[in-house]
């Protein structure tokens, strides 16, 4: 291997090429500083050793946080992780690349170069403040039947609990917690910096119009990725696209690698969506897997769900225009984030695509609150007839008692017991961007 190379304009001139170097971790252990020779984490074979105290000290430097606690939990332990705020996959850019540009690192282009990626471990950020407004409670069970329903019940999890410093506003607190989780994820993945990966995945998509003649017959497929909903306005520190809180964002074309490689992180509204899923974006991966074989991956349009009608309509036709006229797509897949308004926003964009002759498939959540099929969706637009669903977040699910609760210390007595809550409560059971296998079946 050569020396470090900055992914500058010279490298990018040949197109975007992202290399994910995968490391499978089967064991996560806590190690004292002395054992790791000063590094906060070390990877040996399938074992990731972490000096929790050193990492905690590093994360505690944020003046918005009054205290940080780290716990390592493992599949099979009778632990419930409470009030999960977000889940981050450990990733670290190599060769001088920038991690989560605009949020963690300085502004730079994501999606090119080599990135270390750890499989089998997740960083789970919890919310130690009760939030009356969002009211969301998401949990992860590390054992029992619900551990099977969520991917995060099967990963070794580094759980971050942090408390706000006096005078820290809610949004600042959440920004600090998320930043701590991103930092922790980078530290873990940096342990793999010099190791040989178990496998390497390459994501390389040429500029959209350059289709070889022999593949010109393939249908061109675009992905429309709604990355936030302004039902809940973003805070100033709530960077979503390269650190921008996207308050006034119009539909924009990005390279799919930018999404996979830290250019997009989830906002603070956590309904059935994690940053982890975005880092493993299942639709982008699905389109890449078929690219050049059964379809031509035409590109990604990122959009925001808006709060007012003019904004919604403007976004819908601009999206359709980019998909149909700029990317020249024959078909598009659309997903949403958030609740009912973004669900309609997505469908409206799909309807505009259909009106321009672009066939669409949309992924919806079953929106019914009473388990009735008639309440599954909140729209009926011409042409928007191909719908996949990720299940109903409102359906009830039994949660068995656990021995220990981590995160949401204030709720520990309640959360450790047997309870009935919704599928939406189980973080990772339903991912709105389609990373999960749950489906609401009409009976």
């Amino acid at each position: 291997m050569g020396g470090p190379r900055a992914p500058g304009p010279a490298g990018l001139a040949h197109g975007m090429r992202l290399e994910l170097r995968w490391f499978e971790v089967r064991e996560l252990t806590v190690a004292p500083a002395t054992a790791l020779a000063g590094a906060p984490a070390r990877l040996t074979g399938g074992r990731l050793e972490v000096d929790l105290e050193a990492l905690r000290a590093q994360l505690s430097t944020d003046p918005r946080l009054a205290g940080v606690r780290l716990d390592a939990v493992h599949p099979g332990e009778r632990v419930r992780i409470g009030r999960v705020f977000d889940v981050i996959a450990p990733r670290a850019k190599l060769d001088g690349g920038v991690d989560f540009p605009g949020v963690l690192g300085p502004i730079a282009k994501a999606g090119h170069g080599r990135t270390a990626a750890i499989a089998g471990v997740a960083v789970v950020a919890t919310d130690q403040q009760s939030d009356q407004v969002a009211g969301a409670l998401a949990v992860i069970d590390m054992a029992g039947p619900n551990a099977e329903l969520s991917r995060f019940g099967r990963t070794h999890n580094l759980v971050i609990s942090a408390w706000p410093a006096a005078g820290t506003a809610r949004s600042e607190y959440l920004a600090a917690v998320r930043l701590a989780a991103l930092k922790a994820g980078v530290v873990l993945a940096q342990a793999a910096r010099d190791a040989e990966p178990a496998r390497t995945e390459v994501f390389e998509l040429p500029p959209s119009p350059r289709v070889p003649a022999e593949l010109a017959h393939l249908p061109r497929v675009a992905y429309v990725f709604q990355i936030h909903s302004h039902q809940r306005p973003t805070g100033v520190d709530e960077g979503i696209l390269y650190g921008d809180p996207i308050r006034r964002m119009l539909p924009t074309i990005v390279h799919p690698n930018e999404v996979l490689d830290g250019g997009v992180v989830r906002g603070f509204m956590g309904r059935n969506a994690t940053t982890w899923a975005i880092q493993h974006h299942p639709i982008i991966r699905s389109l890449y897997a078929r690219h050049g074989r059964t379809l031509w991956f035409a590109g990604v349009v990122v959009t925001v769900a808006h709060a007012t009608e003019p904004e919604r309509v403007r976004s819908a036709f601009l999206t359709a225009g980019l998909v149909a006229h700029t990317l020249g797509a024959d078909g598009a897949i659309l997903t949403k984030i958030g609740g009912g308004a973004p669900h309609v926003d997505m469908a409206q964009a799909a309807a505009h695509c259909e009106a321009l002759g672009v066939k669409t498939t949309v992924i919806v959540e079953d929106m019914s609150t009473d388990g009735s099929a008639e309440g599954m969706i909140l729209f009926d637009f011409p042409g928007v007839d191909a719908m996949v669903n990720v299940g109903g977040g409102q359906e009830l699910l039994a949660f068995p008692a656990m021995e220990r609760v981590i995160g949401a210390d204030d709720l520990a007595p309640k959360l450790s017991g047997e309870m009935r809550a919704t599928y939406g409560t189980l973080c990772g059971a339903i991912e709105q961007i389609g990373a999960t296998t749950m489906m609401a079946e009409v009976r």
């Binding site: 306005p233 639709i283 078929r290 388990g371 969706i377 489906m439 609401a440």
Partner: protein
């Protein structure tokens, strides 16, 4: 060897071999064992169960005296202590189909005994009872009684034994319109890509969500001029007086409030709040007129552009609200407005 199930059948006067239309007024009665069409059910059951009684009721009696007929039939069914009730099949016979659905629903609810029926897709009983009762899809006429009975019995045995019931297409019953989370083989993303490729290639594809069939409500014509009309303000945007006196839910609302604006030329932001969790309420909290324009409506009233502003504002929270609750609240509000002589409504949504 499993125990033989006790099965009660329900048939109408024709299938119970009492007579044709001239006997349609026959009151509910019970006969021991399998009578008439119930013999096909017995044949389908084989060793799995015994038809211990056949309840028979005339179609006209069931339709015209429906409450009495139902109560009497439930009592007759209960007396036979069944493990399963098989009603019909009713094919395309409307009165019969409705009675089958009603009896199955009542038996399930009152006796907690599983029940199954069967009928043709266009039988009115399907729309009335598919949500609460397993209705097996049958042909229009009773030309193939045994195979139809076998399909009812197959599903009925599963219900009676508490076995898992498969999807409607697999089991042959009308979708009940309820949803259940199931774990599939592939991710939603993979299914979406595959569905799109099918759609692009013009191949058939099966959407995982039925297109809704919302009943359309024609807008009535305003028969007066605005100058003579009483206008009401109604909103589902969640504006409520401070303290939310009616406890309107932040989402999935089941309640609405009626709030007086008598003597008010405008709404004082300090006196209102908004529990709605489906949109950014910052701007409405800042100035409630952005949602409920009492200020402008009063000006129009004073200028004589409208006859009168109704002194009660109705408000609820419209987010994740079920269709059933929306329809009920809408009908109740409309009824109150009509009783109060309101001619037209400005409905503001978010």
């Amino acid at each position: 060897m499993p125990e033989r199930l006790r099965v009660v059948c329900y048939v109408n006067q024709f299938f119970g071999q009492i007579g044709g239309e001239e006997k349609a007024g026959v009151e509910p009665l019970s006969r021991d064992g399998a009578v008439g069409a119930a013999r096909a059910v017995q044949q389908a059951l084989g060793d799995a169960g015994t038809v211990v009684a056949t309840v028979i009721c005339g179609d006209n009696y069931a339709a015209e005296q429906s409450d009495r007929a139902l109560a009497a039939m439930v009592a007759l069914v209960a007396a036979a202590k069944p493990d399963l009730v098989v009603a019909g099949p009713a094919f395309l016979a409307g009165r019969y189909g409705v009675a089958c659905g009603a009896l199955c629903a009542a038996v399930q609810a009152q006796l907690t005994v599983p029940a199954v029926t069967g009928m043709h897709a266009e039988n009115p009983g399907v729309d009335l009872y598919r949500r609460s009762v397993y209705i097996v899809q049958t042909g229009a006429e009773a030309t193939r009684m045994l195979p139809e009975a076998q399909r009812l019995v197959a599903l009925g045995l599963k219900l009676a034994r508490g076995e898992k019931i498969g999807a409607p297409a697999a089991e042959g019953y009308f979708a009940r319109g309820v949803t259940r989370n199931v774990v599939t083989e592939t991710t939603a993303a993979e299914r979406a890509t595959a569905m799109l490729l099918d759609k692009l290639a013009g191949r058939p594809f099966a959407s995982e969500v039925p297109r809704p069939s919302f009943a359309s409500v024609p807008a009535p014509r305003l028969v007066k001029t605005l100058e003579g009309a009483t206008i009401a303000l109604v909103t589902d945007g969640g504006l409520v007086p401070k303290g939310n006196p009616d406890g309107i839910e932040a989402l999935n609302a089941t309640r609405y409030g009626a709030y007086s604006i008598e003597g008010k030329d405008a709404l004082d932001a300090a006196q209102y709040e908004n529990p709605h969790r489906g949109y950014d309420t910052t701007w409405v909290k800042q100035d409630p007129h952005r949602l409920v324009p009492v200020d402008v409506a009063r000006e129009l009233e004073q200028r004589g552009a409208i006859g009168k502003l109704h002194e009660t504002v109705y408000s609820t929270v419209g987010v994740a609200t079920t269709l059933a609750q929306s329809a009920r609240m809408g009908a109740e509000i409309a009824e109150k407005l009509r009783a109060a002589g309101v001619d037209a409504v400005i409905l503001t949504s978010t």
